[in-house]
């Protein structure tokens, strides 16, 4: 059992270390913001409603979404790119 667990940990470490550096505030140009916004608008009703009712972005201040989206990224294991799109959308509403 421990060997299996060690193998799983090593595998996930290998996958993780091969990834890009984490950044919740990866700034691109205006076009990138628009792309993220559109993608976030597409994902918001699907991803959020999977676990709970999707809450409008206007409910929270933009800075609060930075925290809440990190909480949701952890709980939902959301892909980082999708998280950036979601927070872009939520902050803009």
């Amino acid at each position: 059992m421990r060997k299996i667990f060690a193998a799983i940990v090593l595998a996930t470490l290998a996958i993780g270390l091969a990834g890009a550096p984490a950044s919740a505030d990866d700034n691109g140009g205006a076009a990138e913001h628009r792309r993220l916004f559109r993608e976030g608008a597409q994902l918001w009703p699907v991803y959020c409603n999977t676990c709970h009712n999707a809450r409008p972005g206007a409910e929270k201040a933009p800075y609060e979404w930075d925290l809440i989206i990190m909480h949701m990224r952890t709980l939902g294991n959301l892909p980082a790119g999708d998280v950036r799109a979601l927070v872009e959308y939520l902050k803009a509403r």
Binding site: G19, M70, H71, A92
Partner: protein, 554 residues
């Protein structure tokens, strides 16, 4: 002709003048004394003059006759001329009138043309203004729609607030439980009927950087034994990269979906938890340790895969007897824990977002560890969640193996639940006023079937769950950990059908009403940890419970 007619008399005058010039002072000559010859000469001369005068007169008479004809002709011509002139004048006048009319018309045309030019100019100006306005509107729209504006605003606020940010989320709920069963199981306490409760579960989020966060949840409540508090979760979350996050601390068990994502009051569609996660948990609700977790997209947008692996202090049980409750994290640190636990969960979301087929989640979990100095505990389970339109269904199945000390038989358990709900937002009742249809759209009816099978139940656990016996800290877990007041939920073979009707005021404010139908099956044991006495549970009476809860998620 006119000149010729005037020349005649002039010629006669000229002749007389010439004669007078040729005969100066004639009267003077006649009145004096003159010779005959001279008189003759004079007479002759006079005669000649007379003759010449007569000839001149005759010629003058002839000339007057021609002039008169000419004059007549002239007059006639003049009359014609006058008539022609008159006609010409009339023509001219008529032409002048026409010219004036034309001039009038022309001036009108000019005025109209001017007006048209003015209008055209105004149109051009208006068009230009419209173009400018449109450009301004587009600019404003771009500014309004552009997420960058909000981001910039957010950045400005973030700069104002500082780099370390903090917020409080969580939920609060007041509830009422009514269970009309007067007696509990034989010899066991039962206090959760006809009572009000209140739960407050603030979640604190602190974010010092964009890759580190602290999260803590405190469960507080006024329950069966008064107020109480419990530290549900407290952990650091470190985002190493796009695919890996480290969670270290006290956390909800990442087994299945319920503990992590469905247990918050405003998220759970029911007031109570499904039986396998409630009064008789098959898998412990929390762990203290370290997780590695992350998710990634493997196909189109929405096709995701995620993993969670973790290790912790390991499982613990309220006692060594059959059916003892798997402990909550708060009681982990005692002598029963020797080995550490390991767990893993994998989930896949096969449907792309663009397919509009909804979102399907398929997951598998396992949690394993040693307890009581070398006795194994193993658990595994599968789960699904499907959400499309107004319909959502989810379910989980799990099984655990608990190696018992002292050569006792294994304490195996199974648990499951299946639930479905449908938002009435798409339902319009004909003839019903729009306002009432609007209220109707906020309702979500739900149904859930859940059950647990285990060999026995510890009598101390029943008392502890109601705050009477050991484990009084569980006061904060009423009723969101499945305690609905019914003693039948502690039957070894518990079964429950829960019907719910939720009224959603906003996406995170809900009034929930739940009616539970307890249908326990016969079998199993009630075991006392103190005496070790095992009493066959036999047939547990069916029971009903009603719960109503108002919850705000914040």
């Amino acid at each position: 002709m006119l000149c010729d007619a005037q020349r005649g008399p002039l010629d006669l005058v000229g002749t007389n003048v010439a004669l007078r010039q040729m005969v100066p002072n004639v009267s003077t000559l006649i009145g004096g004394i003159m010779p005959a010859r001279r008189i003759f000469s004079i007479s002759l001369f006079a005669f000649g003059v007379a003759a010449l005068s007569l000839v001149g007169l005759a010629r003058a008479a002839d000339s007057d006759g021609g002039d008169a004809a000419a004059m007549k002709e002239i007059r006639s011509e003049m009359r014609q001329l006058r008539e022609e002139r008159k006609r010409d004048r009339e023509v001219i006048r008529s032409l002048e009138v026409k010219v004036q009319q034309l001039e009038t018309k022309d001036s009108r045309v000019e005025a109209t043309t001017q007006q048209l030019q003015n209008t055209d100019q105004k149109l051009k100006e208006t068009t230009l203004e419209l173009q400018q306005t449109n450009a301004q509107v587009k600019t404003l729209q771009t500014k309004v729609e552009a997420p960058i504006a909000s981001s910039e605003f957010g950045d400005a606020v973030s700069r104002y607030l500082g780099t370390h940010s903090f917020t409080v989320a969580g939920a609060a709920g007041g509830n009422f439980i009514y269970d009309n069963q007067s007696g509990a199981l034989d010899g066991l306490h039962h206090t959760s009927q006809n009572s009000f409760f209140f739960d407050w579960e603030p979640m604190f989020l602190y974010r010092p950087t964009d890759w580190i966060m602290f999260e803590g949840v405190i469960s507080t409540a006024f329950g069966s034994t008064g107020t109480g508090a419990d530290l549900s979760t407290a952990d650091f979350q470190i985002f190493l990269n796009d695919y890996m996050t480290v969670v270290a601390g006290l956390f909800d068990q990442p087994f299945g979906d319920w503990y992590e994502t469905q247990s918050p009051m405003w998220v759970n569609r029911f007031v109570t938890a499904p039986l396998p996660f409630g009064a008789e948990s098959v898998v412990p609700g929390g762990e203290i340790g370290v997780q590695l977790r992350g998710g990634m997209q493997f196909g189109a947008l929405g096709q995701d895969f995620d993993y969670t692996v973790w290790g912790g202090n390991g499982p613990n049980f309220s006692s060594n007897v059959l059916g003892a409750a798997v402990s909550s994290p708060s009681a982990v640190a005692n002598g029963q824990t020797k080995g550490k636990s390991i767990g893993a969960r994998f989930r896949i979301y096969p449907l792309p977002v663009d397919s509009e087929m909804g979102r399907l989640e398929l997951g598998a979990s396992t949690y394993n560890g040693e307890w009581a100095n070398g006795n194994w505990y193993n658990s595994w389970g599968v789960d699904f969640n499907y959400f499309v339109g107004n319909l959502q269904a989810r379910g989980e199945w799990m099984e655990s193996y608990r190696q018992m000390p002292n050569g006792l038989g294994a304490d195996n358990r199974q648990g499951w639940y299946l639930q479905a709900g449908y938002f009435l937002s798409g339902l319009n009742v004909p003839g019903l006023p729009d306002k009432l249809n609007g209220y109707l759209h906020r309702f979500e009816p739900l149904v859930r079937y859940s059950g647990v099978n285990q060999h026995g139940v510890s009598t101390d656990d029943i008392a502890g769950a109601t705050g009477v016996g050991q484990g009084g800290f569980q006061v904060g877990l009423v009723p969101d950990f499945g305690i609905n007041g019914s003693p039948a939920t502690y039957a070894p073979h518990a079964r429950e059908v829960a019907l719910a009707l939720d009224y959603w005021i906003t996406p995170s404010i809900v009034w929930q009403n739940e009616f539970d139908i307890e249908l326990p099956r016969a079998g199993g044991l009630f075991v006392s940890p103190e005496t070790g006495l095992a009493t066959p549970a036999g047939s547990i009476p069916n029971d009903h419970a009603f719960l109503s809860q108002f919850t705000i998620g914040f």
